[in-house]
Amino acid sequence: MTTTAPEASVGRRTDGEFLLEVDKLRKYFPIRGGVFSRVVANVKAVQDISFTIRPGEVVGLVGESGSGKTTAGRSILRLIEPTSGSVKFNGTDVVQLNKQQMREYRKEMQIIFQDPFASLNPRMTVGDIIGEALVIHKLAKGKAKEERVADLLERVGLSSSHMRRYPHEFSGGQRQRIGIARALAVDPKFIVADEPVSALDVSIQAQVVNLLQDLKDELGLTLLFIAHDLGVVEYISDRVIVMYLGKIMEIAPGKELYANPVHPYTEALLSAIPIPDPTLKRERILLQGDIPSPINPPSGCVFRTRCPIAIDECAKVDPPLEEVSPGHFKACIRRPA
């Protein structure tokens, strides 16, 4: 039971088992200073994370601000260039591809952004926004394009007549539907949904989560669902990855993570979520202080400075991801494997 996560899953790999294999992905943002603009330090946004996603699987990627979840999502799509590591999509390492080769893969890998207000060009009609990728990838034009856009709009719960309207005429929830239609336009196999519901009201949030779930079932989509809200993630994800300060703390099948969290950070995160039941009196794990700076993260376990059960040893050992039960991994030396 004490095998380490990435090796173990890579070792078991048969071809085609995984759609996405992320191996030791790292993204450092250099900080330059001095007269010669030399690199004086690095923001260690993502530090060597590894995980896999199977075809048709929805994986939730959860963490607070500064955990590196968004950077991880964007590095996988090469919207920002990873510093090192590999991202294998269907067996091909996309990090090694040149620009032209990458363009082919963009069709397969799409993104839905968090802010439905900033991510839609206000000067383009909804039809042009959704149809743009079809034109770029030479998939459809003219009447065929229009039909495809109409079909997509209806698929996400809007009407084909919305095609000629502009983004400002829509509410937040509707705009997010437009963003989803745009991502679906090129028939991608894999979508990174970067906090797609965080900016929405709860009643609308539920609509969009349900829509994504329906689309996943209908189209067999594979999703990396990034969120800071453990509640929403649970509904849509088959597995959940918890990140803190650029590293993975815990990976577990959806329900398992909520029922039996093993990592002290996951426990604290779960207990911090307010439950809409005033009669429920919980013993809350209150974390002290703030998330440390990613420029100079703590040695050993990055969570140890706020961890209620940390010991001296935690500063020395970089905890490996160990399997505690099938599919459930944790990076903590204080919890038995």
Binding site: S203, A206, A272, D277
Partner: protein, 340 residues
């Protein structure tokens, strides 16, 4: 139900905004009261009018385009709406103070946090700058900022989001207000930091005894902090009552929908596969639906719901109020559904 213990009594408040397309009735006839030392949560989604209600209570509505078009805001029996700007300045930051959602933008970046806390103290209390700075340090200590003597000389950008919100709270409480208006104070914060801030507000309320008007969109936070709740939708209060009762037996279909649409991490193992969404969108405030504003999204609505705005009426006990003409039938239908 105002009584001698009432600190703030809002009666039929109307706050309107003039826009190019017409008058937006952001708050249209809202009434509630807050007793001394109690926490009242006003909860609603975007566009419900909850923040405008809070800003009205502070008389912070920018005019033009906004104005308090009607109603009274009685603070210790005196109508704030009628007060001059000069009189208001004596109340604001002193008797009633406010904390905002964005701790990043509500602090002045060119002054140290000590200066900013001391400013209110010098203004409202007969204190010298030196005494005020000492008090500012004490306040930082009270809100749980480590090394307050050092931190008091920090600029806002040297602090994290959670820390800045603590500074905001220190500033708001520095003159010992009777009422703290908190407008989504934890919305911009991470959950673990939110837990810290809510815990701090609880503790300070016990120590200082101020009443809190807590504005939020998060029903989870409401359950943790509030004694009573007002649920708002499209500028009106649609349900009001003690927090336990609202959560145990919500009467307004909107409140029910809202409670059902929240993902529950504590019930992860037992719940069904889908979230219960409320269909449709919040109506455009310029063109509110006829009758009950919620009826186009309500699964219990019938033709009667389109006829006239339903009154806010008492249900079980006069503490629990609901604005739904069919609340009795809705209760029955819910019960039958539960049986089936």
């Amino acid at each position: 139900m105002a009584n001698e213990n009432t600190l703030l009594d809002v009666v039929d408040l109307k706050t309107y905004f003039k826009t190019d397309e017409g008058v937006v009735k952001a708050v249209d006839g809202v009434s509630f009261h807050i007793d001394r030392g109690e926490t009242l949560a006003v909860v609603g989604e975007s566009g419900s009018g909850k923040s405008v209600t809070a800003l009205s209570a502070m008389r912070l509505i920018a005019s033009p385009p906004g104005r308090i078009a009607g109603g009274q805001i009685l603070f210790e029996g005196e109508d704030i709406v009628k007060k001059s700007e000069r009189e208001m300045r004596k109340i604001r930051g002193n008797e009633i103070s406010m904390i905002f959602q964005e701790p990043m933008t509500s602090l002045n970046p060119v002054y140290t946090v000590g200066d900013q806390i001391a400013e209110a103290i010098v203004l409202h209390q007969n204190k010298t700058k030196r005494q005020a700075m000492k008090l500012a340090t004490d306040m930082l200590d009270l809100v749980g900022i480590p090394e307050p003597a050092k931190r008091v000389k920090n600029y806002p950008h040297q602090m994290s989001g959670g820390m800045r919100q603590r500074v905001m709270i220190a500033m708001a409480l520095s003159c010992g207000p009777k009422l703290l208006v908190a407008d989504e104070p934890t919305t911009a914060l991470d959950v673990t930091i939110q837990a810290q801030i809510l815990d701090l507000m609880h503790k300070l309320q016990r120590e200082i005894g101020m009443a809190i008007l807590f504005i939020t969109h998060d029903l989870g936070v409401v359950a943790e902090i509030a004694d009573r709740v007002v649920v708002m939708y499209a500028g009106r209060a649609v349900e009001e009552g003690p927090v336990n009762e609202i959560y145990a037996s919500p009467k307004m279909p909107y409140t029910m929908g809202l409670l059902h649409s929240i993902p529950r991490v504590d019930k992860a193992a037992e719940h069904q596969e889908r979230l219960n969404a409320i269909p449709g969108n919040v109506p455009n405030p310029l063109y509110l639906p006829e009758g009950c504003s919620f009826h186009p999204r309500c699964s219990f609505a019938t033709n009667v719901c389109k006829q006239g705005i339903p009154p806010l009426e008492a249900t079980t006990g006069d503490e629990h109020m609901v604005r739904c003409i069919r609340w009795r039938e809705v209760q029955e239908e819910v019960k039958q559904e539960a049986v089936a």
